[in-house]
C-alpha cells in the first residue's frame, strides 16, 4: 500500500498536498483499491465552497457510489477534467495524475485535524486488524 511521506491524510482515505495556500486533493491507494475499478468521477464545480470533512464529490464503481470528503476548508479553484474522460487514472495514478481538485485553503490551522503519513499508516494497520477479527453474527 503506497503512502506518500509529505502528504496529509484523513480517516476517510483522502490525501492533501499543500503548497503555499493551495491544497491538492485526491484519494489514497487504499481507497482506490477498496473501490475497485472506478467508472465515474462526479467533479464539483469550480468556485464551490467546502468545509473541512464536508462532502466534496463522489466516485462510482460498477457496484458502488462513494462520497469523497474535503480534507480542508476553502474554495475549489481547479478540477482535474482528465478524470471525466478516463476515470481509470484514479486507479492507476492516485497520487499524481489522479489528483481530483485543488482548493484554496481558508483555514490553515485545520491541518492539525489531519493525519501524517505515519499516523495514516498506523491507522490502516488498525483497520486491517479489525477486519481480520470481524466475523459473522452467530
Amino acid at each position: 500500500m503506497e503512502i506518500i511521506e509529505h502528504f496529509l491524510y484523513t480517516k476517510e482515505h483522502e490525501w492533501v498536498s499543500i503548497e503555499d495556500n493551495t491544497g491538492t486533493v485526491g484519494i489514497t491507494d487504499y481507497a482506490q483499491q477498496a473501490l475497485g475499478d472506478i467508472t465515474y468521477v462526479e467533479l464539483p464545480g469550480v468556485d464551490k465552497d467546502v468545509e473541512q470533512f464536508e462532502q466534496l464529490l463522489s466516485v462510482e464503481s460498477v457496484k458502488s457510489a462513494s462520497d469523497i470528503f474535503s480534507p480542508v476548508s476553502g474554495k475549489v479553484i481547479e478540477v482535474n477534467e482528465d478524470l471525466v474522460d478516463d476515470p481509470s487514472i484514479l486507479n492507476r495514478y492516485c497520487y499524481d495524475k489522479g489528483w481530483i481538485v485543488r482548493i484554496e485553503i481558508s483555514d490553515a490551522d485545520e491541518t492539525s485535524n489531519l493525519l501524517t503519513a505515519d499516523e495514516y499508516r498506523n491507522y490502516l494497520a488498525s483497520l486491517d486488524r479489525n477486519d481480520n477479527g470481524e466475523s459473522l453474527e452467530e
Binding site: 467508472t39 465515474y40 462526479e42 462510482e60 464503481s61 460498477v62 457496484k63 458502488s64 457510489a65
Partner: protein
C-alpha cells in the same frame, strides 16, 4: 387440492421430519397467537373453468363494440399477431430483472434494441429501458431537469395532457417547486406567454407534440429561448406521429418522454403501459431507471448488461436519482418487436395513413352544420371540433348509434363543454368514417 402446489401429504411428512418439526404450525412460532388474523373472511376457491367463465361474463359487461374515435394519448392501433405471440413466450414473461446477465441475454438484448429504436425515433442520444407509463415518465423528466439545473421553477404549456399535469402537481405538492402554466393560443403554445416567464430561475419548459388538442408545432424557437436562459426543453411525444413529424432532437429538446402504448400494446383499460425517456448524452447520469449497455465478456464476445447502476436505489439508497426499481421490461420488449415489424418505411406509411384518414374525416365533418373544425394549426391523427351543443350529449347519442365519438374536452378544460377531441387511426375504414359523419349530422340535427 391447489394445482399450484406440488407437495403431497407424504412429501410434507418427509419434509417436516427432515426439518425436525411436528407440524407446519411449528414453523410459524414467531407469529404468536396475539398476531392471528381477526378475520380471514374470503370465499372458497373456484375451478379454473368457473373463474374463466365469471371473468368472461364481466368482460362482456364492457362496451368495446362501438367504433372507437377516442384518443387523448391512447390509441386504437392494430397490434400485429407476431407481437402477442412472441411476448407470450414464457422465457420472456416469466423471467425477472436481468440480475445475472449470463442467463438473461434475451431480455437484455431486447431492451438494448428497444433503447436504440427509441433513440432512432426521437433523434436523441440515449434512452433508458422504460418507465411505468407516459405520465410518470414526464414527472421523472421534470425531476431530472431540476437536478441538472439546480433550479425549481417549471413552465408548462396547457396543451400538455391535463392528466399528466395533474400527476406532476400531485407529486410535487410537498416539494418546493413552482409551476407556471401558460395558455394555448390558436391551438399552439403561446410564445409570448412563455417568453414572459422564462428566466434564469427556470429549470425547464415542458411541451407536448402533438398537443392534447391534436395540434402539431415546431418548438425550435422555444428551445432556443429556453437554452438562452440555461433552462431545458422537455418534450412529451406520441411515437406514431414521429413517422412524419419533426423530431424533438431536431427542435433542440434536452429530454424526451412519452407514452408507448401506441407501439404495439393493447389499450388494457389504462395499463400496463409503457413510459419511455430519452435525452442528450451528457444527461445520462441524471436519467432514472434501468439502462442496458453493450460490453464484451471475458472471451471478447459482445453482450449486454444493466449499466450505470451506481445511480440506482439498490446502491445509493436515499441518494439515488429516483426510487424506481424495475421498468416495464415486457412492454418494452413488445414495443421492440412492434418497431421491428413495422420498420423504417412501415412507420412512415403508418403515420401517413393515420394522418390521411384524420384529414378525410376532418373535411367531411367541416361540411356539417353545427360543426366547426379548428383549423388554426395542422394536426396529425387527432383534432378538435367545436359543436353547436354539449359534447357530452353528442357523445352519448353517438354511442347509441355505435360510435365512441371522441373525448369531450370539457372534462379537463373549463369553458370547453362544446369541444370534442376526435382520434382516427389506420384501423378506421372509409365506411366507418362516412358512417360517423352521417351519424353526427343526424345527432346535431335532432
Amino acid at each position: 387440492m391447489n394445482p399450484y402446489i406440488a407437495n403431497t401429504p407424504e412429501d410434507v411428512r418427509l419434509m417436516l421430519e427432515a426439518v425436525g418439526a411436528r407440524s407446519i404450525d411449528d414453523l410459524f412460532v414467531d407469529i404468536q397467537p396475539r398476531h392471528a388474523p381477526r378475520s380471514f373472511d374470503l370465499p372458497e376457491g373456484l375451478s379454473e373453468y368457473e373463474v374463466v367463465r365469471h371473468l368472461n361474463d364481466l368482460s362482456l359487461k364492457n362496451m368495446v363494440g362501438p367504433v372507437p374515435f377516442i384518443g387523448g394519448g391512447y390509441y386504437d392501433h392494430y397490434v400485429p399477431a407476431a407481437c402477442q405471440a412472441l411476448i407470450a413466450r414464457g422465457e420472456f414473461y416469466t423471467a425477472y430483472t436481468p440480475y445475472q446477465p449470463e442467463c438473461a441475454q434475451g431480455t437484455l438484448q431486447a431492451l438494448f434494441e428497444f433503447q436504440s429504436c427509441i433513440c432512432a425515433l426521437t433523434g436523441m442520444d440515449v434512452a433508458n429501458a422504460s418507465l411505468y407509463e407516459g405520465g410518470t415518465a414526464l414527472y421523472e423528466a421534470m425531476m431530472m431537469a431540476l437536478r441538472i439545473t439546480g433550479r425549481n421553477r417549471v413552465v408548462i404549456d396547457s396543451g400538455v395532457s391535463p392528466i399528466y399535469r395533474k400527476i406532476l402537481k400531485s407529486y410535487t405538492h410537498s416539494l418546493n417547486i413552482e409551476f407556471i402554466e401558460t395558455p394555448v393560443l390558436h391551438g399552439q403554445g403561446d410564445r409570448s406567454a412563455i417568453n414572459k416567464v422564462l428566466d434564469g430561475a427556470t429549470a425547464a419548459v415542458i411541451l407536448q407534440n402533438p398537443n392534447f388538442f391534436g395540434a402539431i408545432d415546431d418548438h425550435a424557437d422555444i428551445a432556443a429561448k429556453a437554452h438562452a436562459c440555461g433552462a431545458l426543453l422537455i418534450e412529451s411525444v406520441y411515437p406514431v406521429s414521429l413517422g412524419l413529424l419533426k423530431t424533438p432532437a431536431e427542435m433542440g429538446a434536452d429530454i424526451v418522454t412519452g407514452e408507448g402504448q401506441s407501439l404495439g400494446l393493447p389499450l388494457n383499460f389504462g395499463g400496463p403501459y409503457l413510459g419511455f425517456i430519452a435525452a442528450r448524452k451528457k444527461y445520462i447520469r441524471q436519467m432514472p431507471g434501468r439502462i442496458v449497455g453493450e460490453t464484451v465478456d471475458a472471451q471478447g464476445r459482445r453482450c449486454f448488461v444493466n449499466t450505470l447502476q451506481a445511480r440506482e436505489q439498490h446502491i445509493r439508497r436515499e441518494k439515488a436519482t429516483s426510487n424506481i426499481c424495475t421498468n416495464v421490461a415486457l412492454c418494452a420488449t413488445q414495443a421492440a418487436i412492434f418497431m421491428s415489424l413495422v420498420g423504417k418505411e412501415g412507420l412512415k406509411d403508418l403515420a401517413q395513413l393515420n394522418c390521411d384518414k384524420a384529414e378525410f374525416l376532418k373535411s367531411r365533418l367541416a361540411m356539417i352544420k353545427g360543426v366547426e373544425v379548428k383549423r388554426s394549426s395542422p394536426t396529425f391523427n387527432e383534432f378538435t371540433v367545436c359543436l353547436s351543443r354539449s359534447a357530452n350529449d353528442v357523445v352519448e347519442r353517438m354511442m347509441m348509434r355505435g360510435f365512441a365519438a371522441g373525448f369531450p374536452l370539457g372534462r379537463y378544460y373549463d369553458g370547453m363543454d362544446n369541444y370534442l377531441l376526435i382520434a382516427v387511426t389506420e384501423k378506421r375504414t372509409r365506411a366507418e368514417l362516412d358512417g360517423y359523419a352521417k351519424a353526427l349530422e343526424e345527432v346535431l340535427r335532432a
